[in-house]
Symmetry: C2
Subunit: 248 residues, 2 copies
């Protein structure tokens, strides 16, 4: 089960094949994809999975609609790859006995659906987090989140594992480095640092293990030994890396 | 200048960066992309080039329209990345003093635009080959072609270099291997072998160098030492590989 489907999905599948050797000439280890929103970094990899191998795409109706409006996703043949709508706060059973429950988090529409006025922070079907459970253990996957709200804190309290939006260290990081004109808030991503950041927001909740994922290449926590990385680690956070394996 | 933009474009760019080290934090070596049709394997990589770096996308109006109908390509910001229509048999100047002339070859609409009845083999803006010239030398790039017509033979006669559609060895290859239900002809690709294949069709034209590209992973010419690879080589063809460099 893939949580989102990045443009680099082929590399991910190659890694997975090493762990789970191929069955048949074009076996794909992907049985299902669960989308948390419709942005390119989460859906474009679907265009690399079109090998006449059955799997299922799960997402909220808003996200499935965002894809359906683009005929190019028709290469993912719906006869083989059904698209199944998830409802907020309702569980769905995935292959392998994995249960998933989507919940709205503060977010926004995908970049390519933005109109002249963009509202960031509303909690709708457009951006969701996932509670993923199997064999009595659960994790939370929240790769995009514009704000740590009290409701989100309550939901994540005492969790065994949280994989959380680690896009930026600070809100104006892209602008400072001359690499963009948008703040993190504008992009729908709460920063790690600061009083209203995710490290502060998710502190003291008794979460057993916290891992930053979806890390932008401007984020200094990617640099081994950087003060920011040390600060994140001191706050009990791990920084995800390619090929990372986690046992729950 | 990229000729088409495959989903694996990031890996290609990484290779290019080794040859041409980065200038600035997010320098991209891509100055222009020229599309020969709108199929996923030629356009999906555009979704991985959205780093606020200016470049230009060139293609026939039919191909630019196919993309424009998909809002997801809006992430490639047209303010930074203009889309420039190429006209059949008219030259266009690209960065670096490279000239490109598109010409229609037998083909079909992109897979995701197929309707219930699909006409394969018509010569329209939907599938083109390119003549690419610089400093008085030229190559022909024809990654998708349903038939070697007399007109195409005339065009390629005496060329210094032809990079040609090497999708399949034989028309029913996918079906035989149980990996698909379509013939090469149905997919818009002439096979290498056989009397009406590309090796026969492009023989005796005095082409200095012939290289098969766009090779499907069912094609036995990919296997070192296979009889098919030896036959292709005996017919004066090279088999392209990742990282191949050609000096004209």
């Amino acid at each position: 089960v893939l949580l989102n489907c990045s443009p680099d999905v082929r590399a991910q599948i190659m890694n997975t094949r090493v762990l789970h050797p191929a069955q048949g000439s074009r076996h794909s280890p992907v049985a299902a994809v669960v989308l948390t929103n419709g942005d390119v970094d989460h859906v474009a990899g679907l265009l690399s999975l079109r090998e006449s191998q059955p799997f299922a795409v799960h997402g909220t109706q808003a996200t499935l609609d965002a894809i359906a409006e683009n005929r190019i996703f028709g290469v993912v043949n719906e006869a083989l790859v059904p698209r199944q709508a998830l409802k907020l706060d309702r569980g769905a059973r995935l292959p392998g006995g994995i249960d998933v429950v989507p919940f709205a988090v503060p977010g926004k529409v995908p970049l390519y659906l933005e109109e002249s006025e963009v509202v960031v922070g509303r909690e709708t079907e457009e951006t969701v987090g996932l509670k993923v459970s199997a064999e009595g253990r659960s994790l939370f996957y929240v790769p995009g989140c514009a704000d740590v709200t009290p409701a989100l804190r309550d939901r994540l309290r005492g969790a065994a594992l949280v994989l959380f939006d680690g896009t930026l260290w600070q809100d104006d990081e892209m602008i400072r480095e001359g690499l963009g004109t948008k703040t993190g808030s504008r992009m729908g991503h709460v920063s790690m640092s600061g009083n209203s950041g995710s490290m502060a927001g998710l502190a003291g909740l008794g979460i057993e293990r916290k891992v930053f994922v979806h890390i932008n290449n401007t984020n200094p926590v990617l640099v081994d030994g950087s003060p920011e990385r040390e600060e994140a680690q001191a706050n009990g956070w791990e920084i995800a890396y390619d090929g990372m394996e986690i046992e729950l």
